[in-house]
Subunit: 248 residues, 2 copies
Amino acid sequence: MFSIVILGTGNVATHMFKAFQNSKATRVIQVYNHRPESLKAFENLVDTTSSISGLKAADLYLLCLKDDVIEKISEQIQSFEAIVAHTSGSQTVLSKPNSAVFYPLQTFSKNSPLDYSKIPICLEANSEENISILKTIASSISNQVFEIDSTQRQTLHLAAVFVCNFTNHLYKIGEDICQKDQMPFDILKALIQETSEKVNRESPSQIQTGPAIRKDSSTIKRHLKQLKDKRHKDIYQLLTQSIIESHD
Amino acid sequence: MFSIVILGTGNVATHMFKAFQNSKATRVIQVYNHRPESLKAFENLVDTTSSISGLKAADLYLLCLKDDVIEKISEQIQSFEAIVAHTSGSQTVLSKPNSAVFYPLQTFSKNSPLDYSKIPICLEANSEENISILKTIASSISNQVFEIDSTQRQTLHLAAVFVCNFTNHLYKIGEDICQKDQMPFDILKALIQETSEKVNRESPSQIQTGPAIRKDSSTIKRHLKQLKDKRHKDIYQLLTQSIIESHD
């Protein structure tokens, strides 16, 4: 059984903690945060510490931390044999020996339950031995484990911004438009689900629908007239133009 | 049992045909298209015609047609008592007596199976009697039936462009980014599903994640450098700016 110390108490840390607690191959032995108050949610479940010098010996230190503190915290860990892995999509492997990456490609909110077995986990390490250990650990929580280098991971992270972060912002704009006219956003949820499920069956480039792909200029004009928010109008125009050009 | 003639043979017509065939309250008695070759898929299933004068008497003529021909075709139907309803999200009710709207708020592709019971159907009619008939018909295929006026329907249609058509285009850009670096788009599909399912639990304005909402300028800069396609870069900048401003 692999012993794991989780550094961080945010969304990723919370979900990784749950995933590892449910795995038979791993045990989380400690959770670290520099602010004691952030550890409260974990105190009844596991040993906690707010000081790096208080870290227990472990097989894996999992750094679920903001990008800009990963390197600094990593350097303070006296690990010797242990693997020190971060969970960032955009940071490269650190220079320290036994550094690694354990990147779960998913959007995490603390209160949303997740099926961990379906989350792709992208691994990278400095040695064959460490990759092998990380594969065993990752496979104990997920069926989707990939060995991926930093350049590929940065590509995935960039694509993820479009399909997740930007998509959620379009949902927000949809909600804004509904609310302004006192329509319930709920009525759009079946459409949102089906739009996302369709890409499991066909390539998104094959299933584009709507006024832009039809070059239906009278509907486009009316929509632009309906939109009062300058930003929404700009986004409508740019995405409409992009759909038209990329399908020409 | 209500008799229905469907005019049109596209995606909406194909799915409405299937939905009504499976309903105990309705029977599709004929499908029309002005081009005989478009009727081939229906010939073994139902009576077909390529001439308006050959239309059978029915309780409901459902016009699943392009926006710009709806009015013209509608005027040619000698309907008297029957309801003549179109399925467009953006067209108003026609002036002709017994005109109505039967708008299924969903994205339809011919080969994608759908659970019709979850599709919101937005109804509008010129009389109480007709609304009542349409409600009976719509409720026989869906649990989500709404009486909605043209202004409200146009609002929903506009919001649908953002959450469906534009979202699918973001999926396509994600696919483009993956393909350019020989990464499989499949690895992003769990993320796409979870992003869409999250809005069933929380408002999209509450669950925005990613570098823009964190104002993580070093990641944003690196992403813009990674993007080679001018259009993708423009979209990244505009949506990032919009996320930052709308959460300030």
